[in-house]
């Protein structure tokens, strides 16, 4: 049990941009994933999180290529295998049976001219080990069971074409399809993006239930930190193709030690509690083709010193915890990052039923301040309420 189910070492992924040129999208990823864990890969668009997610299953599109590293999985039979050394045939059996992927955009992940039933039939037949014969009845039985698990009506859904289902139903069907062969690891790319708020919530609850029932290990990719707080035990923040901070969800959300993570959390607008004046991270993420020297975040960082421009440091161990939950951050100045979480007194006339944890957080830095906003309005309204 102490062996990780997936162990990634020094993984780098590049995309070809021309006949000889290529850009590195993901580099130097080290990651140990233990059974039953749920890891969130978070970051802004273009940080390489989707590339890494696809890379974990060797599902990179045509121009993407794993340039170095190893991906060792512990298979269901207990043996270990490096995904990068697998041949095409082994890979086919590995996917879905050992690890499966739920692609981004439930709208387009299904082939529009194939009925849901046939999607299940194709997956079951293509990726099973060949011992079981997937007759029509067997497929229907298995697919029906799966769809019921995700609260869909099999009689209706199996005979439908993808366009006949709503976005939420398609996402449920996709998840059902992904767990069809009982994989140990499930990778989900933006599982709730482009869905309506209430549908998002129901998918989140669904994933909680499924995880409780099947106990699979989950990696999900998201730009939504709220979703990460909701679903993840562990969080890894990515910036410019590297993991720059990892830790348990509580470590990351309550005591972020990388200025970028702190900035990201600081930019999330809370819906509960009082209204804080939020600050954004100045500037924009770098282009893969023109990566800054040293720490890639230094041009946007309030703590940056000359040392940050010169060299990039690896993840530093900040707090040791078992099962890969240790808090690590790649920042020279992590000890300066202070992240406060104030609990505002909720206004007197606000009923007790609303959760009273106003989230006000500040990065301890003055240089990070951005456009002058109207902090006064917050203060005014709070005092007026009392």
């Amino acid at each position: 049990m102490t062996d990780p189910i997936l162990s990634v070492r020094d993984l780098s992924i590049a995309y070809k941009t021309g006949r000889k040129e290529s850009v590195t999208a993901v580099s130097g990823i080290d990651l140990d994933l233990y059974e039953g864990q749920s890891l969130a890969l978070v970051g802004e668009s273009g940080c390489g999180k989707t590339t890494l997610g696809l890379g974990l299953l060797r599902l990179l599109p045509g121009l993407g290529e794993i340039t170095s590293g190893s991906l060792t999985y512990r298979l269901k039979d207990g043996s270990k295998a490096d995904l990068l050394k697998m041949k095409q045939e082994q890979l086919r059996r590995f996917r879905w049976a050992e690890a499966a992927m739920v692609f981004q955009g439930a709208m387009n992940a299904f082939n529009p001219v194939i009925k849901i039933r046939d999607h299940f039939a194709d997956t079951l037949k293509d990726h099973s080990d060949g011992k079981k014969k997937w007759t029509k009845a067997a497929v229907d039985a298995r697919a029906g069971e799966l769809l019921e698990t995700v609260r869909l009506d099999p009689d209706r859904v199996l005979q439908s074409y993808p366009h006949e289902l709503s976005g939420g139903m398609k996402q449920r069907a996709l998840i059902a399809l992904a767990i069809a062969l009982d994989p140990q690891v499930l990778v989900l790319d933006e599982p709730t993006t482009a869905l309506d708020l209430l549908t998002q919530r129901s998918i989140v609850q669904q994933l909680h239930e499924l995880r409780k029932k099947f106990g699979f290990t989950m990696v999900f990719i998201t730009h939504d930190l709220g979703l990460a707080a909701e679903l993840a035990d562990r969080v890894a923040t990515m910036y410019a193709g590297r993991i720059i901070e990892t830790g348990s969800a509580r470590d990351i959300f309550y005591e972020p030690k990388h200025p970028y993570t702190a900035g990201l959390i600081n930019a999330v607008m809370p819906v509960k509690g009082a209204r804080p004046q939020l600050e954004s991270i100045p500037g924009y993420p770098p282009s893969l083709k023109a990566m800054p020297s040293g720490c890639a975040f230094h041009p946007r960082c309030a703590f940056a010193t000359d040392a940050c421009k010169r060299e990039r440091i690896d993840l530093d161990l900040l707090a040791e915890r078992p099962l890969g939950m240790s808090h690590t951050a790649a920042c020279l100045h992590h000890d300066q990052v202070r992240f406060e979480r104030k609990c505002d007194d909720t206004s007197a006339d606000r009923p007790a039923s609303t959760v009273a944890s106003g989230v006000r957080s500040t990065v301890a830095s003055d240089a990070g301040s951005t456009v002058e906003g109207d902090a006064r309005s917050t203060v005014e309204s709070e005092t007026a309420d009392v």
Binding site: M169, A229, P270, V359, V371
Partner: protein, 353 residues
């Protein structure tokens, strides 16, 4: 509080003809926006918020009801008034990539309208004005953006150019249709901060469309929120009230569904009340009575599925819910006035019914 609204929508209805027959995307909406104030329209896809915004911007003509700008209905305007309306009310699209012409530079995009309306003379003046506009939206130094093409800019930068273009017309009202939803979190905050500054400094009114309650709360804290469901406003009031103490079961569900970046809070919230159905009914086949009743956790047979609930005053905001209307404690409305929340206002008597 006697100042007349910048924009007034009354009884706005928009019916689209589809293959399956006519569909009322917006079924009777009354709203007002005042100068320097924000009104947020919140709801899920298909609730009619974008349709309402497009009618308010004069892009589409409503099937019935009126859009009034500074007290004058759009249909009664003469050419000069129409031009004034067209320039005073600007619309910012959702997709920062599609809303800029890929073949034109930022300078050319920003000054096309100015040149057309004779607001600048000569190239030097146009460049100076364009640079001012870029500074207004925090794209500095402007010189490094003026000659860029849209594809050289990031999403956040493009959306700022879109805002700058609308500011060129010296607008009194900006209608933002999910204008921040395609941006990354930190970019979104900085754009909202910029928009908030414009609202305060230039006294621009906002009709702000979003599906994200957190964005609505952040941007419209001093203003109002109107929650729409299937073409109708179901709850409308001052933002702190609507967000802090929602009354309509739909608003409650929306607020409960937001994922906060707080793992402990998330764990505590996990057992929140579930909706009776996850699927939104089709506009073609609206449920009888309250359109939310098939999903509503507070549903009471006989009460909710009979008649359409009216939008009426309850706990310092308007709510369209039979259960809330029945259980309302009238004292609550009287003892605390709307003015308890700064920046908010009492709804006009006619909309309170």
């Amino acid at each position: 509080m006697s100042e007349s609204p910048l924009l007034k929508l009354s009884g706005l209805e928009q019916v689209f003809d589809t293959r399956k027959g006519p569909v009322a995307a917006v079924g009777g909406v009354d709203l007002e926006v005042k100068a320097g104030k924000v009104l947020c329209l919140v709801g899920e896809s298909g609730c009619g918020k974008t349709t309402t915004a497009r009618a308010a911007a004069g892009i589409t003509r409503p099937t019935s009801g009126a859009v009034e700008f500074r007290g004058k209905s759009l249909t009664e305007m003469n050419a000069a008034e129409r031009t004034d309306y067209r320039r005073s009310v600007q619309y910012i699209h959702q997709d920062p990539y599609a809303a800029l012409n890929p073949t034109r530079t930022v300078f050319s995009t920003l000054t096309a309208g100015l040149k057309r309306h004779g607001l600048v003379k000569g190239r030097a003046e146009a460049r100076a004005k364009a640079a001012d506009l870029l500074r207004l939206v925090d794209l500095t130094p402007p010189e490094s953006y003026l000659d860029s093409y849209p594809h050289q800019l990031s999403g956040g930068q493009r959306q700022r150019v879109n805002v700058a273009r609308s500011l060129a017309m010296d607008p009194k009202l900006l209608i933002c249709d999910e204008s921040t939803s395609m941006l990354d979190v930190s970019i979104r905050v900085s754009l909202l901060n910029t928009l908030g500054r414009l609202r305060d400094e230039l006294d621009v009114g906002f009709l702000f469309i979003t599906h994200d309650l957190a964005v609505a709360k952040y941007f419209a804290w001093d203003g109002e929120i109107a929650v729409m469901y299937l073409g109708k406003v179901v709850e409308h009031g001052p933002t702190p009230e609507v967000i802090g103490n929602p009354q309509h079961p739909y608003t409650k569900a929306l607020i409960g569904a937001v994922c906060e970046p707080d793992p402990d809070l998330a764990k505590a919230n996990r057992s929140t009340e579930q909706l009776r159905s996850a699927e939104i009914p089709s506009l073609h086949d609206l449920p009888a009575g309250c359109a939310f009743h098939p999903r509503c956790p507070a549903f009471e047979p006989g009460l909710c599925d009979g008649e359409r609930p009216l939008l009426q005053l309850a706990s310092r905001r308007n709510v369209a819910c039979h259960v809330v209307a029945r259980d309302r404690v009238p004292v609550d409305d009287r003892t605390l006035t709307f003015d308890a929340v700064p920046g908010s206002r009492r709804p006009e008597p006619e909309s309170a019914i």
